[in-house]
Structure formats: structure tokens, C-alpha cells
């Protein structure tokens, strides 16, 4: 298969063309709003697709370390399989959060909170600038 240009670069090129070629020729307001949304989504997908599997695998290990679980090797690197493992680890993290709050374990709450803060930093990297195009 051809891997170059990578998916993230192609998505970015599509977004650029939509913005510079297609958008100026569109006069219909709802269609303009839709193009504005598509532009933001494509740019986010470009950032996300370049790194998401690596980010998820790394975070699964961090979660397991924080809640005292072993991290087993991934049996598949298909996106759906990694996302499923990531969700399972996130569920375990959620359980640990509930337990820490119910036991008023401030030290563990701080540890788990830091995992969430790290997750948010990556989410913000994906999100970039949010423009609520089409709203008020």
C-alpha cells in the first residue's frame, strides 16, 4: 500500500482546498455553516489520526500503573481493538475514581485526577481552536 502522504497530510490538504476553493463559491448560508464545521473536523481528524493509537496505548499503561493493574501486550493494533482496550481501561479508571471519592482518599484522587488532566492536554491538542460556527 502507499502510505505517503500520510492520512493526516491528505486530510489537511482536503481541508485547505475546501476552504480556499469550495467555500468562496458557496452562497447558501446553511451550506457555508456545514463547510465551516467540516473544515474544523478535518483539521482535528488530521491531528488525531496521526497519533491516536500511540496516545491510547500509552494512556492504557499509565492508567494501569496508577490503579495497580498489569498491562498486557496488545493482541491487535486495529483502531477498533485499541479503542476498545482504551475504553475498558477508562472504565477501570472510572471505578477507581468512584472508590477514591467514596473513601475520601485524597492522595489517590490527586493521582487519578492527574491522569485526567494529561488526557485533557491531548484532547486540547486535537481540538485546536473551537469556533462554534453557525451558533448565534
Amino acid at each position: 500500500m502507499l502510505t505517503q502522504p500520510t492520512t493526516d497530510k491528505i486530510l489537511l490538504a482536503i481541508a485547505d482546498d475546501l476552504n480556499s476553493v469550495v467555500l468562496p463559491s458557496v452562497t447558501d448560508e446553511p451550506a457555508k455553516v456545514l463547510l465551516g464545521q467540516i473544515d474544523q473536523l478535518l483539521r482535528r481528524l488530521s491531528r488525531r489520526t496521526a497519533s491516536e493509537i500511540d496516545w491510547m496505548i500509552l494512556e492504557i499503561k499509565q492508567i494501569n500503573d496508577a490503579i495497580g493493574r498489569e498491562t498486557s501486550d496488545m493482541s491487535s493494533y486495529l483502531l477498533t481493538d485499541v479503542a476498545s482496550a482504551y475504553s475498558e481501561a477508562s472504565g477501570a479508571l472510572g471505578e477507581a475514581i468512584d472508590k477514591a471519592f467514596s473513601e475520601d482518599d485524597t492522595q489517590q484522587i490527586a493521582v487519578l485526577r492527574q491522569l485526567l488532566v494529561d488526557r485533557i492536554a491531548k484532547e486540547q491538542e486535537i481540538l485546536g481552536q473551537l469556533d462554534l460556527v453557525g451558533r448565534g
Binding site: L34, S102, Q124, L132, R135, G136
Partner: protein, 341 residues
């Protein structure tokens, strides 16, 4: 609703069913700005109850099945608009097609207002006295007697609106297509740090500059009551602040003391019940109504039950929100620990 060639006939049929005569519909054009519903404006001339009317109206209806990012009820929205009209500056609702018999989708017709969207108005005119007017609008909305509101409006099932909202955070985390640990954290944190209660009232649930206009007198006009319920009124203040983080300016932050003082004066709430820390608490709690709807429809898209760009786009709001909620809980922790005033 997007086809101007067929809509005048459909609107005519709806008005005819309501007893209007001599109906003439023209200038039908789709509008942007509707977050969850399709909207269009049109000119209408008709006679009803012996009175001839002529003006601009707005048709507001449900998108095609499976494409709505939020599921709400036009009949309830119509009933809420009728009940709040004597108390608030809001465009009157005129006609309802509750089942979409005439329009092809559940829809209502409102009078068009010449008022301008709030953010463009602020760009041209500055903040002016909007913060105080916002306090008065919120106060007016939150002091409408509950017994004058439609009985169909959802009320707290547990008897306590905070418990209901916290439960919704937990339920959204559990029901979503993937686990949401940040939602679990927020729910646990909200449960641990509850403020003193206030009496329940009408809650708009999408109380933001996106749903406000400024009229010719410089007064705020509030629109879009599709998410309204009975609940804790401070949810609207928190939601307003949360939305303003994504779409500034935050009118409350212009002068929080003046805003809160005026709001307390109108509502009769105490300083313990409504203060900057409590508002920050509700900045987090108050968004869950909209957030849960966005998450639910995102789950449906992930399962292949529906699909649209708008759904995917709105899911990104959750990324923005998660950062804002965690930052708010952090700021409140510091304040409650006495690290800041």
C-alpha cells in the same frame, strides 16, 4: 423544510387548519443559527379571529428523523413559550403543528423579531448595560411562579434537582458508547461539594448569548425554550458562564458583584446561595442537560444508528467542556481550601 418551492403551501395548510383565511405566504428562506432545529423565515398575510395580520414569521421544526442532535418536543416548547410570554421578552409563539401533519415535521411558528444577535450587537455597541439586563432577565425567568408553567415540564424525579443532575452525569458516563472517566470524576466531585439549596424554578438549560438577541431598546430577548425544565435556577447562570468560555464575552464576568447583587435582589436568594463560587459549581453542573444529549446522539452515530457532520462537530464541544469542567473544579478546590479569595 429546506425546499422553498413547497413550504408556502404547507404553511398555508397549517394556518388554514387553525382557522386563518385569505392566507398569502411569500419570501420563504431557510435561516442559520438554529442549533438543533431547522428554521426558516417567511412573510405572511392572513386573517384570523376577524383581524387581518401581516408580518414576518419564523418556522421552527424538527430535522429529518435520525439527524437531530437533540430530541425535544415542539408541543412542550410551544406550551412553555405561551406560559413565559407574559413574563419575558421573547417572540410570541403563534401556531403549532405538533405531529407535522401539515409541515411534514413537528414544527411551530413564531413571530419574527428584528432584534440582533447578541455577539454582533456587542461588537458594534460594546457591553453597555447588558450585564445588569442579563441579571434582570435571569431573575425574571427564575421567579415565574412554577404553577404557571406547563405541567408537562420535567421536574426533579428525586425531589432534589442537584441529585437529579449529578445522577445524569453518572448515567451519561455509563450509557455512552465508551467509558468517560472525566464524567465520573465530575459527578463524584459535584456530589462532594454541594452548595445550599434554593427553591426550584423554570430552567432554560441553554441560557447563553446564542439564545439571546438585543432589541431596538437595547433590551435582551430570550429565545429557544426547547430544553426547559423545572430545576435549580442556578444551572442557567453556570451554563451561561460555561458557554461564554467557548464564545466570549462573559457578561457576568464584566462585574460579577453587580450582576449577583441584582440577581439576588430579584430572586430573594441569599449570598450564601448565590455567589461566585456557587456560580462556578453550576458552571460544571448546569451543562449536563445539553451534554448528555450530545453524548447520546454521538453514541448513536458510533453504533451506526444515525450519521451527520453536525453530530460529529458537536461532540468536539465535549472536548472543550471537559477542559473547562476540570479547570473549574480545580479553581473551586483552591478556593475552598482557602488558597485564593
Amino acid at each position: 423544510m429546506q425546499d422553498p418551492s413547497v413550504m408556502p403551501e404547507k404553511i398555508t395548510a397549517l394556518l388554514d387548519s387553525e382557522g386563518a383565511t385569505d392566507i398569502d405566504i411569500s419570501g420563504y428562506a431557510p435561516m442559520t443559527g438554529g442549533y438543533s432545529r431547522l428554521m426558516a423565515r417567511f412573510e405572511a398575510k392572513f386573517t384570523i379571529d376577524g383581524e387581518q395580520e401581516e408580518g414576518t414569521f419564523v418556522l421552527r421544526g424538527d430535522p429529518p428523523e435520525g439527524q437531530a442532535i437533540i430530541e425535544t418536543d415542539r408541543s412542550q416548547e410551544y406550551a412553555v413559550l405561551k406560559s413565559v410570554a407574559p413574563h419575558l421578552n421573547t417572540p410570541p409563539a403563534r401556531f403549532l403543528d405538533s405531529k407535522g401533519i401539515h409541515i411534514g415535521t413537528p414544527a411551530l411558528i413564531l413571530e419574527f423579531t428584528e432584534a440582533e444577535s447578541t455577539l454582533p450587537w456587542i461588537e458594534k455597541n460594546g457591553i453597555s448595560d447588558l450585564p445588569l439586563k442579563l441579571a434582570e432577565l435571569a431573575g425574571a425567568m427564575h421567579t415565574i411562579p412554577v404553577d404557571q408553567l406547563p405541567s408537562s415540564l420535567a421536574r426533579p424525579t428525586s425531589g432534589d434537582p442537584l441529585t437529579d443532575q449529578i445522577q445524569m452525569w453518572k448515567k451519561t458516563a455509563i450509557d455512552h458508547v465508551e467509558h468517560l472517566p472525566i464524567f465520573r470524576y465530575v459527578a463524584a466531585w459535584l456530589d462532594k461539594n454541594r452548595p445550599p439549596p434554593v427553591p426550584v424554578s423554570l430552567v432554560h438549560h441553554d441560557f447563553s448569548t446564542a439564545n439571546m438577541l438585543v432589541d431596538g431598546e437595547g433590551d435582551l430577548v430570550v429565545i429557544d425554550f426547547e430544553l426547559a425544565t423545572i430545576g435549580d435556577p442556578r444551572e442557567d447562570l453556570g451554563y451561561f458562564k460555561a458557554y461564554a468560555q467557548a464564545a466570549p464575552p462573559d457578561l457576568i464576568d464584566e462585574n460579577p458583584d453587580d450582576f449577583l447583587s441584582r440577581y439576588r435582589e430579584i430572586t430573594g436568594f441569599s449570598e450564601e446561595q448565590v455567589n461566585p463560587l456557587v456560580m462556578t459549581y453550576f458552571l460544571v453542573l448546569g451543562v449536563i442537560g445539553v451534554v448528555s444529549q450530545i453524548a447520546n446522539v454521538g453514541s448513536a452515530m458510533a453504533k451506526g444508528e444515525t450519521s451527520s457532520t453536525n453530530i460529529a462537530f458537536n461532540l468536539d464541544n465535549l472536548l472543550f467542556g471537559q477542559a473547562a469542567w476540570m479547570a473549574a473544579t480545580d479553581a473551586l478546590e483552591a478556593a475552598l481550601d482557602g488558597e485564593v479569595n
